[in-house]
């Protein structure tokens, strides 16, 4: 069993608040990704879990036991460092066994035995007598992972495990890493700034911004119901369209999709409201439904993307992305019409741009068709 | 090497100053004042020991004298340490360093060019000429004088000399090299040889020993190197005319103008007619020259023929003891190192230092198969002066100035320009 509980973790570096009251429960054997832009505090959080850094306030519990003053190597944790951090002067065998011998106190023979077993499971035995310089990026990553897994720790922490790998390797390795960690039955915590890595590797994702966890959920939850405009913009590719809504008089909102009538009493009428719609929910042509929102604009860029195309449409200064099938071939610089359904439009309101719900649920409707150009 | 020795005299002065600063704080009672020798019969040998430091070229004579002293003064301990280096500058550094830490020797060997350093900073005990042994050539004592007082007893000495290739001269129609006595004759002879061979015929090195060689040329012409008031002595009509020799040789394309060793190599190979050298090098030229090389040393010419005493090089003994009895025993030790037997060991056969004891010369001349050139070195009995004479503190820049002067004239600059310029610089350095 290896569960992690973080209670009210805060950490400051000088005047910079890295972590601001983080609470998080990580379940046994789950794979959790901590996702956020650089400076969001995700690496600090990882280092605090590992024991490389002590929190200013709050507690780290491993299986319910407070880890205060427990040094890194005595925690039931192993780490895969950013850029692998392999010892350049040691062979893979040396890299794997150093910690086993000094940290875990295994004899040389036992350590090498365990290193061979781990390497065999990972099919990297042939790399054991090479030094890092004589290995490719992917091979180094596998050895770094082997070094972590050979500890048989309940928790494996991975700090940006995919950085520095080329795209092809990236995709195959992230699946492999995920698989290996779950085979070991270990709890995996991955820090990454890449939402696709997070989505594909993690059972749950914690999205961080400015030292706080702004949303915790499964990849689907994050995709379907982002808690804020920040999460919405971070999850999914191509990213969600976030268009501002301008409060007009008499409970009306002005958007690039024309004027909207907000029901009385809805906070959505306040300024600062943002409408979010995913590119795959924006369609070319004319709507089949009368309550659809429509707009027309100039095609300024068409990006082929395998089965789909991403089309950039300029709606009088606001660019909206839409995904269409590759059979549709919008002509560059031509004017196109597009539509979307209010039940697919997320409304974010308030100072935190928190999600209020879908436009249809909130009763937002196209007010006057004359507004739609 | 000797160039280096002299050139670093200024550094040593600085070292000595900082050392004496250290010394006075550590042991203010001793200071640098050497003691005058006590009457030796008032001293008990068994209670005394003397410490002496010297360069290895003195070893045979020192060991001989030590034995004699130990017989004469039973119980006297003589702690004689030869430095590894035969370089006088290194020797001085070691003595200065030892003195700074309370291991000041009583009796030291020093290069003659460094006499002023010792007299200016260590106040050595005067040498009493009456104690010197039978046969010692007292005219050489002049080389160990500062002012009117003798502080150094010359031990292994030499002086500038002109080596002449007789064969080359004969081919140019000059049969009697000894007749070349003045600079005019030297230039004429050189011209004749050069006409015949098409090569430069004279080498007067400016690099190695500029102060010694320029002093020799000046004094040989009867002018003073250092004026009576301590300032630059040869910025006179006569002095400039004498130094113009270098310039004339250069302008007439008669000068080889290379280092002494390189000139010596050319001389030994039979390519060079006139090589200015020192008597101490004669033994080596004898050893290295092929048997058929017909050559001879001649007295260094002067402007109007050799007129004055030449400066001495080599080394001698100085007493810097702080204890009157040790000074007395040191004085006695010097005596034993200058006897006939000691002089044979320090100057004969393998060396061509000028023997300082006439009895040794007589003995050497009795030997078989003596090269005639060695005879010149061994029988040199003309008076010699001290080397240098400018105050000790500015030695290095003064030597540099003289080297520059020689080198300027070596490329044809007139002595009327070069000598006054050097005089001005050196007088400024001396504060005159």
């Amino acid at each position: 069993m290896a569960s992690i509980t973080l209670e009210n973790i805060s950490k400051r570096f000088g005047h910079v608040t890295a972590l601001d009251g983080v609470n998080l429960d990580i379940r046994h054997a789950e794979s959790l990704a901590i996702l956020g832009p650089s400076g969001s505090g995700k690496s600090s959080l990882l280092r605090i879990i590992a024991g490389l850094e002590a929190p200013d306030t709050g507690r780290v519990l491993l299986d319910g036991k407070d880890q205060k003053d427990v040094p890194p190597h005595q925690r039931d944790i192993s780490i895969v460092f950013q850029n692998f951090a392999l010892y350049p002067h040691l062979t893979s065998m040396g890299n794997i066994t150093l910690g086993l011998r000094h940290g875990l106190g295994l004899s040389r023979k036992d350590a090498e035995q365990r290193a061979r077993e781990t390497a065999a499971r990972m099919r990297v035995e042939d790399l054991l007598d090479r030094r890092p310089k004589a290995m490719s990026g992917g091979q180094r990553q596998r050895i770094a992972l082997a070094r972590a897994l050979a500890r048989h720790a309940g928790v494996v922490l991975l700090d940006e495990p995919m950085s520095g790998l080329d795209a092809q390797l990236h995709i195959s390795l992230r699946a492999e890493i995920h698989q290996l960690i779950s085979q070991e039955g270990a709890t995996g915590v991955t820090v990454t700034h890449d939402q696709q890595d997070a989505m594909s590797m993690a059972d749950r994702i914690a999205v961080m911004d400015s030292g706080r966890i702004v949303q915790l959920g499964t990849p689907d939850e994050l995709y379907d119901a982002p808690a804020s405009a920040f999460v919405a913009g971070f999850i999914g590719g191509p990213p969600m369209n976030l268009v501002p809504a301008e409060a007009l008089d008499a409970g009306k909102l002005g958007t690039v999709f024309g004027r909207l009538q907000a029901p009385a009493g809805l906070g959505a009428a306040e300024s600062g409201t943002v409408m979010g719609v995913r590119p795959e929910d924006v369609h070319l042509g004319r709507p089949g439904r009368s309550d659809a929102w429509t707009a027309a604009g100039n095609v300024i860029l068409v990006e082929p993307n395998g089965p789909l195309r991403t089309v950039h449409v300029d709606l009088g200064g606001t660019v909206v992305l839409l995904s269409c099938r590759s059979e549709d071939r919008p002509v560059l610089n031509s004017t196109v019409e597009l539509w979307l359904l209010p039940e697919r439009v997320h409304v974010f309101t308030g100072p935190g741009r928190l999600r209020a719900g879908f436009a249809a649920q909130l009763g937002l409707a196209a007010a006057a068709l004359e507004g739609a150009v | 090497m000797r160039t280096k020795a002299i050139a670093s005299a200024a550094i040593m002065t600085a070292v000595a100053l900082s050392l004496s600063a250290c010394g006075s704080s550590a042991d203010s009672a001793s200071g640098n004042q050497a003691a005058a020798a006590a009457a030796i019969d008032k001293c008990t040998p068994a209670e005394s020991s003397i410490k002496m430091t010297y360069a290895p070229q003195g070893t045979p004579a020192v060991e001989h004298a030590k034995k004699v002293m130990e017989q004469k003064f039973p119980g006297l301990k003589i702690d004689a340490v030869a430095s590894q280096s035969s370089n006088y500058s290194d020797l001085t550094k070691q003595i200065v360093a030892d003195s700074a830490v309370g291991k000041r020797p009583d009796l030291i060997m020093t290069g003659l060019g460094q006499l002023r350093f010792w007299t200016d900073t260590f106040n050595p005990a005067p040498i009493d000429p009456a104690t010197l042994p039978e046969g010692y050539q007292k005219q050489f004592l002049a080389a160990g004088k500062a002012g009117d007082q003798s502080y150094l007893a010359p031990f292994q000495i030499s002086t500038p000399v002109m080596l002449v290739n007789k064969k080359l001269l004969a081919e140019a129609g000059i049969t009697d090299p000894a007749s070349i006595k003045d600079f005019g004759q030297l230039v004429e002879a050189a011209k004749k040889v050069t006409e015949k061979t098409g090569k430069p015929s004279v080498n007067i090195a400016s690099d190695d020993l500029p102060d010694w060689f320029s002093q020799a040329l000046v004094q040989s012409s009867g002018e003073k190197f250092v004026a009576d008031d301590g300032s630059f002595g040869f910025d006179t009509a006569k002095g400039r005319e004498a130094m113009d020799l270098i310039s004339t040789l250069a302008k007439e394309k008669l000068a080889l103008n290379v280092k002494m060793d390189d000139g010596e190599a050319q001389f030994v190979a039979g390519n060079l007619a006139f090589q200015m050298a020192t008597t101490s090098r004669i033994a080596r030229v004898v050893k290295n020259a092929p048997a058929d090389l017909d050559w001879t040393p001649i007295d260094l010419p002067g402007l109007n023929g050799p007129e004055g005493a030449l400066p001495a090089g080599g080394n001698g003994w100085v007493v810097i003891s702080e204890d009157p009895c040790k000074a007395a025993f040191s004085q006695a030790m010097i005596t034993e190192m200058l006897t006939k037997d000691a002089s044979l060991l320090s100057s004969g056969k393998d060396y061509s230092y000028i023997p300082v004891n006439r009895l040794a010369t007589d003995e050497l001349l009795k030997g078989d198969n003596i090269a005639p050139q060695m005879r010149y070195a061994w029988t040199y009995d003309k008076p010699l002066t001290a080397w240098g004479g400018f105050a000790g503190a500015q030695t290095a820049p003064i030597i540099d100035t003289l080297r520059t002067m020689l080198q300027q004239m070596g490329t044809g600059k007139s002595a009327d320009d070069a000598v006054p310029a050097a005089a001005k610089t050196i007088n400024a350095l001396l504060g005159k």
């Binding site: 890194p72 | 190599a265 080599g314």
Partner: protein, 273 residues
């Protein structure tokens, strides 16, 4: 134009090599010149005959065997002590945050600014107060640490990525174990370079041994070379050159060995196949 550069570079390189190797060649050339003839007269570029007696004469006359042994003892003693002091000092300055670290680093840098000549005499006086004049310890003691060594190694240790140091922490390596197992091997190029520098400097040092050493038993090689130099009567160039060749040989051999080692260390013994 560009095509011209490569041959030009080769030619310039060859000239540079010849210019820098020629003095060594000439040393060896002079060392085999006939001992009884005149070493200065018309030495040909290629010797017609080899007179190896100079080496035997140099070896005996300068007591080179004992001097070389002394030189090795002193040089390696200095190096060992320097490594023992410089490596921990550099490690502390590079990888630990503690009060006064900046001041200490400043002091190390200040030491680099003081010429060794300035401290020569005070050091000598101090050494004699300790009664260590004319001893091997006296030859070694002033050099037990090196500011340049601390600085060089610190710079190298600074360049070790933080992640490696953290990996060592999570691997359970204490500070000392980290130093021995990680920091020292990763600083090997600088340690090797500094060792070379130290060995060359102290093997060739003349001034300090000249002041300290008096007894023949503790003479170091450069001091013994001085015996062949006598300005009054001329130098014994063949013996001097032979002695110089003997004295420089260990250093040259060491350099060549170290160079091979460097190349191997850089390329790595294993080539990815």
């Amino acid at each position: 134009m560009i095509r011209l550069y490569k041959p030009l570079g080769l030619v310039l390189g060859a000239v540079a090599v010849i210019l820098s190797l020629f003095p060594f060649y000439w040393m060896l050339r002079t060392a085999v010149a006939p001992a009884d003839g005149n070493a200065l007269t018309g030495l040909s570029l290629i010797p017609a005959e080899l007179d190896l007696s100079n080496f035997a004469r140099a070896w005996d006359h300068a007591n080179l065997g004992s001097a070389m042994l002394n030189g090795i003892t002193v040089t390696l003693g200095i190096l060992l002590l320097q490594l023992l002091t410089c490596i921990p000092a550099a490690y502390a300055l590079a990888r630990f945050r503690f009060r006064g670290a900046g001041v200490l680093l400043g002091l190390v840098l200040a030491c680099l600014l003081i010429p060794s000549q300035a401290t020569l005499i005070p050091t000598f006086v101090g050494l004699n107060l300790l009664g260590l004049g004319d001893t091997r310890i006296g030859l070694v003691l002033p050099f037990v640490t090196s500011a340049i060594g601390i600085f060089m190694l610190r710079q190298q240790m600074l360049s070790i990525p933080d992640a490696i140091m953290e990996a060592a922490r999570t691997d359970g390596l204490g500070p000392l174990r980290t130093l021995v197992s990680v920091v020292v091997p990763m600083s090997a190029p600088s340690i090797a370079a500094f060792s070379m520098l130290s060995i060359f400097t102290h093997w060739n040092d003349y001034l300090w041994p000249l002041l300290v050493a008096r007894s023949p038993e503790i003479m170091t090689p450069p001091l013994t070379l001085a015996i062949f130099q006598n300005a009054d009567t001329g130098f014994d160039y063949p013996a001097l050159s032979a002695a110089a060749a003997i004295v420089t040989a260990p250093v040259i051999i060491l350099f060549l060995l170290a160079q091979r080692h460097f190349v191997r260390g850089m390329a790595g013994p294993e080539v990815a196949g």
